[in-house]
């Protein structure tokens, strides 16, 4: 995969000959495409995307996200998934044997969950579910967040970046597609992991980031060991 990184503004023409225009691009006239974001152009095998530098999260079916419970109803939880719209989770979409009117004991306001987007409709209402492998309530740990367009960079190719941070800091990390990140472990290690994540976020548009990250983690890790001795 070749990667070129060109900064574009809303309305800038996108060269359609490099691939098929996909995300972050709109049609502006006959056979012409323009960027709809302030971001960078990413050219992959077949497609051209404009990836914004920041912005809200748009739910897509099948995305695994981290959400915060903000309201409990008789049979539904209202969940904030860091997107423009709140989402709902029905009690039947959980792995627990719940009874209507008594669902607060499973999830109360303020709890975090790792869930999957199940359905979406045209007016952007969405429902999420906890019924799948690996989905659960997140207990303990720390939350941090990055802007949603940067999540692919945090994860890295095949999870390389996040695995590197996990291994180097000895923490457990769950990255939601919506930009929320849950980190659990020794508090000093968690702090290192958070700073590493923030560094990836700030430098997401640069190249050679994985190597620099490796170097950074080696340096900081040495420091922590030195202090704890």
């Amino acid at each position: 995969m070749t990667e070129t990184k060109q900064i574009v503004m809303p309305g800038d023409p996108i060269d359609g000959s490099l691939g098929k225009p996909r995300n972050g691009v709109y049609k502006c006239g006959d056979q012409q495409f323009c960027s709809s974001y302030f971001g960078i152009v990413q050219v992959s095998d077949q497609f051209i995307d404009v990836v914004p530098f920041s912005g809200p999260y748009y739910p897509r079916r099948g995305d695994k996200v981290i959400g915060k419970v903000i309201e409990v109803g008789p049979s539904m939880w209202t969940i904030d998934i860091n997107s423009p719209y709140h989402t709902l989770m029905h009690m039947n979409d959980t792995p627990w044997r719940t009874n209507a009117g008594d669902i607060k004991k499973y999830l109360a306001p303020g709890d975090y969950i790792y869930a999957k987007v199940m359905t979406l409709n045209d007016i952007r209402e969405s429902w999420i579910t906890l019924k799948d492998v690996g989905l659960r309530k997140l207990e303990g740990g720390h939350m941090t967040s990055v802007s949603a367009p940067k999540v692919p960079r945090i994860i890295g190719k095949g999870g390389s970046m996040v695995n590197m941070i996990k291994d180097a800091t000895g923490t457990r990390i769950v990255v939601g597609q919506n930009g929320l990140i849950w980190i659990d472990g020794e508090s000093e290690n968690v702090m290192i992991a958070i700073s590493a994540v923030k560094m990836v976020e700030n430098e997401a548009h640069t190249t050679g980031l994985t190597d620099r990250m490796q170097k950074y983690l080696n340096e900081v890790k040495g420091g922590v060991n030195g202090n704890s001795k």
């Binding site: 990184k5 060109q6 900064i7 503004m9 809303p10 309305g11 800038d12 972050g24 709109y26 502006c28 323009c34 709809s36 974001y37 302030f38 971001g39 914004p52 530098f53 920041s54 912005g55 809200p56 423009p84 719209y85 709140h86 045209d122 007016i123 952007r124 802007s147 367009p149 700030n202 430098e203 548009h205 640069t206 190249t207 050679g208 980031l209 620099r212």
Partner: protein, 247 residues
């Protein structure tokens, strides 16, 4: 507008009261991401104008009856600080700021791809800290930068500029004295790439020829202002990319 005065606003050489030529802009400086908690923000200094803009959203529109099932609503609020003008301005919305909020909302609505966010609202807070003529277009120019910085999809950036008639001559970007004692004022908002007009108001009288001259002047100036907007947005990302390798 048109207040009788014996002040000479343009001298024999065609130099204006603040030393500019007829088609010269005041110095403009834009900065982005100045506020930590806003989704997008911008600060603009345009001559003596100092304006802060914060953008929040898109988020679900409340109260619920303001929601539009097809698209997002833009709620811009133009507000002048009590200390922004010579004599203390009574705080709070008044006739003038309600009008400006409305025209700025409508101008931004043309640029933002609102169809992507049914039922949502985008809040744009424009706070004028210091006013020196042309605050509505300075606010609009900064607002469009802040919206782009918030990662909200847009068709184009909005650029604002004014022209007017002073001492019988068409001049660009009126200053305070020219605005107060000139004969006409024409603020315009334009989509940078396509050149479509999204805001146009006029105070005073212009003949058809004068109007054409003024709009030509504005179109010319918006290109320069757009360059400043683009640099404000991309500058720091480009600098970091250069430093770390990339581009």
């Amino acid at each position: 507008m048109g207040t009788a005065s014996d002040i000479k606003l343009i001298d024999e050489k065609g130099i204006r009261i603040d030393g500019r030529s007829l088609s010269e802009l005041r110095p403009i400086k834009i900065e982005t991401d100045v506020l930590e908690r806003a989704d997008g923000s911008a600060y603009i200094e345009w001559g003596g104008n100092k304006i802060m803009v914060a953008v929040y959203g898109p988020r679900e529109a409340y109260p619920k009856h303001t929601q539009d099932i097809d698209k997002a609503v833009i709620k811009a609020r133009y507000n002048m600080a009590a200390f922004s003008v010579d004599e203390r301005k009574r705080p709070g919305p008044d006739r003038r700021s309600v009008e400006i909020s409305k025209v700025i909302s409508e101008a931004l609505q043309c640029a933002i791809i609102v169809e992507q966010f049914p039922r949502a609202q985008i809040d744009v807070y424009i706070e004028v800290l210091q006013a020196d003529a042309g605050t509505r277009i300075a606010g609009l120019t900064a607002a469009s930068v802040a919206v782009a910085a918030a990662g909200i999809p847009m068709r184009d950036l909005v650029v604002g500029c004014t022209a007017g008639k002073v001492d019988g001559k068409i001049v660009l970007d009126l200053g305070k004295e020219e605005d107060n004692f000139g004969q006409a004022d024409l603020p315009m908002g334009i989509l940078a790439k396509s050149g479509k007009i999204v805001l146009m108001q006029m105070d005073g009288d212009l003949t058809a020829e004068e109007f054409d001259e003024a709009t030509t002047m504005i179109y010319d100036a918006t290109k320069r202002i757009n360059d400043i907007q683009r640099e404000a947005l991309a500058g720091k990302y480009r600098a970091l990319a250069m430093e770390r390798g990339g581009e």
